[in-house]
């Protein structure tokens, strides 16, 4: 299991479009479960509604956990996506 944090820089936060893209990315990571946690509330990052329901805003720090499958690859892919888009 790997854990890392990320602080959202995009002014709009994780709104519908980036949430959709993140879900797509996470669903493509075979055998890996990615969870995203904000203020003690954790959800599976492959679940769009729940992810949007976290209401992650600019300046929020979230914690990602990747578990199973190729964790290194998953961590890299998620971090890259976040840095690039959010």
């Amino acid at each position: 299991m790997k854990k890392f944090t990320y602080t959202i820089k995009d002014a709009q936060g994780i709104h519908a479009r980036p949430a959709g893209c993140l879900v797509k990315l996470v669903k493509g990571l075979e055998g890996t479960v990615v969870t995203i946690e904000k203020n003690g509330k954790a959800v599976n990052a492959a679940k769009l509604m729940m992810l949007m329901g976290l209401g992650i805003k600019c300046g929020d720090t979230v914690t990602f956990t990747v578990e199973g499958g190729d964790e290194d690859k998953a961590e890299k892919a998620v971090l890259e996506f976040m840095t690039e888009n959010l």
Partner: protein, 545 residues
């Protein structure tokens, strides 16, 4: 019936005159029905979902063609929402545990998720509850096997509704819709966004009362400029608006023809016309109106939208985005310009009796170097993505400029030491917005690459008239000779010292002065995006000979 006037929020500046079509949704009356064969019910659900997704991909394709990828993506999100695990688990759970029909399970689930979004703090996310209801209604419609009506208008109509779901807006046959009016909705709603992109006049949030007064087929006037909707207008009103409409159409057609043309007078003098924007979301309008660059990018939004000082990374992203979007065209970013009249809580600025003459703009940056440093580092880092100009507001003296330039050098040497790349062709310039700056513009011009005249502040400081005070209006002559002389002086001094000069205040868009500015040798005018093409038209009509 007499003419009645309603007011809402206009989202697209155009006028429509036509007949009302009250938008009737195939109301999905969902009843709770007990079913014994839940397995068959789950199959029905899957079939309906497949059908809904097929419909949505058709709508996505249509939206892609009509309103572009960014706006079409919402339908892609809708498809993903339909496939969302939690949403589906909830529906299936209800069917299986309560032995009920799929329609009912979808409706209940829809309420649950829509409420979750509606209860969120963020207005953007609140608007997502409409998306949940939209996809749920679509599935329910597919379940009852009645094709969701595509609401095609028979003839050209003004579509009036309580609110329009995104898919409903796009499904409308654009050629047959003159305008739309909704009782609810916000500037954030997809209806508003899509309306703008579809170039259809729209008035939103007009209130329920309007719908109560309305009958199908009644004559309406929709004025997207002012947000006015008139039911049953009398003849002279119709004539008045028809004329306005013709003028709009004529003007727009004329201006479209001007796209891609040069800003050049009949006798060959050319001038640059740039646009002013206040945030990254203004870039679309800049490009759509064919501006030659961005003459004033107000960086304040970064600070206003944030609950704390925006960090370097956050600023870098915004600057990078605007530079990249402008693809090598000039982008002039003005450093932080706030003061006691534009308060930001976390800055903790003292209340001032006279904020216009107070600790503001570059004066804040020079007293709080850490804020300035972050912004300058972000700007230089972004500079490799396009053609950047950095502009300092509220400059009064040689020493102000020296300090600003020293801060730039500091930022650059830090980045160089860290091995972070930055462009070596970044231009630096200053606002000319105090009489002092204009009067010593010979000294200042020698230090910078460009000037940009902020006519609003220059006017209030030159005439000693507070521009916030409405009672002073009779005393504010924006064409006062003193102001024009100061601009002329700055222009002469700029050119003598190899600097260029632009105007980014309101006067830049004042076409009664365009000829005067051309004669002064002003190099660039920066105006809000909708004024770019009218200004180009004006320039092309002038002869300086």
């Amino acid at each position: 019936m007499a003419m009645r006037i309603f007011k809402g929020k206009g989202v697209y500046g155009a006028v429509a005159v036509g007949r009302a079509q009250v938008f009737k949704r195939q109301e999905a009356h969902v009843r709770r029905i007990r079913v014994d064969d839940t397995a068959a019910e789950l199959e029905r659900l899957e079939a309906a979902k497949a059908m809904a997704i097929e419909q949505l991909s058709g709508i996505y394709e249509k939206a892609l063609r009509e309103v572009g990828e960014t706006n079409a993506q919402i339908f892609d999100i809708h498809m993903m929402m339909i496939e969302d695990d939690d949403y589906n688990d909830s529906i299936k759970g209800i069917i299986e545990t309560q032995s009920v029909n799929a329609e009912y399970a979808v409706a209940v689930t829809s309420d649950t998720f829509a409420e979750m979004f509606a209860s969120m703090e963020d207005s953007y996310m609140q608007a997502r509850s409409a998306d949940v209801r939209d996809i749920s209604n679509r599935i329910i419609a597919c379940l009852s096997d009645c094709e969701k009506s595509e609401h095609q208008a028979e003839e050209c109509m003004i579509v009036c509704a309580d609110d329009l779901a995104p898919s409903e807006t796009v499904a409308l046959d654009k050629d047959k819709v003159l305008a739309f009016v909704t009782a609810y909705g916000s500037a954030n709603s997809h209806t508003a966004i899509l309306a703008r992109n579809m170039n259809i006049p729209a008035v939103i949030g007009i209130g329920e009362e309007f719908l109560n007064e309305l009958e199908d087929g009644v004559q309406l006037i929709v004025d997207g400029h002012t947000g006015t909707v008139i039911i049953d207008p009398d003849e002279s009103t119709v004539q008045q608006y028809t004329k306005k409409q013709q003028e709009d159409t004529h003007k727009k057609a004329l201006l479209q023809e001007l796209k891609g043309k040069e800003n050049i007078t009949k006798d060959g003098t050319s001038i640059k016309i740039y646009a002013n924007i206040g945030g990254v979301d203004g870039i679309g309008a800049v490009l759509a109106n064919d501006a030659g660059g961005i003459g004033l990018f107000r960086s304040e939004f970064l600070y206003l939208e944030s609950n704390d000082y925006p960090d370097e990374e956050q600023q870098f992203r915004a600057y990078k985005k605007v530079l990249e979007s402008m693809a090598g065209k000039k982008v002039i970013i003005r450093t932080l310009d706030i003061g006691a009249d534009k308060q930001i809580d976390y800055f903790g600025l003292d209340k001032e009796d006279n904020p216009a003459l107070g600790l503001r703009a570059v004066r804040i940056c020079l007293t709080r170097p850490e804020i300035f440093r972050t912004q300058l580092r972000a700007l230089y880092r972004a500079s490799v993505y396009g053609s950047l100009g950095i502009m300092f507001p509220m400059i009064n003296s040689v020493s102000d400029v020296e300090k600003c330039l020293a801060a730039c050098e500091q930022a650059k040497s830090e980045l160089a030491a860290e091995g972070v790349p930055f462009s070596d062709s970044v231009e630096t310039g200053i606002m000319i917005e105090t009489p002092a700056a204009a009067i010593i513009s010979d000294r200042l011009a020698a230090m910078v690459d460009f000037f940009s005249v902020g006519t609003n502040d220059l006017t209030q400081y030159t005439l000693a008239c507070d521009r916030q005070n409405a009672k002073l209006e009779p005393f504010i002559d924006t064409h006062h000779e003193a102001i024009l002389r100061l601009i002329e002086l700055a222009a002469k001094n700029a050119h003598e010292h190899g600097a260029w000069i632009g105007i980014c205040g309101e006067l830049a868009a004042d076409t009664s002065l365009t000829e005067t500015f051309l004669r002064m040798g002003i190099d660039e005018l920066s105006v809000s995006a909708p004024f770019v093409l009218p200004l180009r038209e004006k320039v092309r009509s002038i002869s300086l000979k």
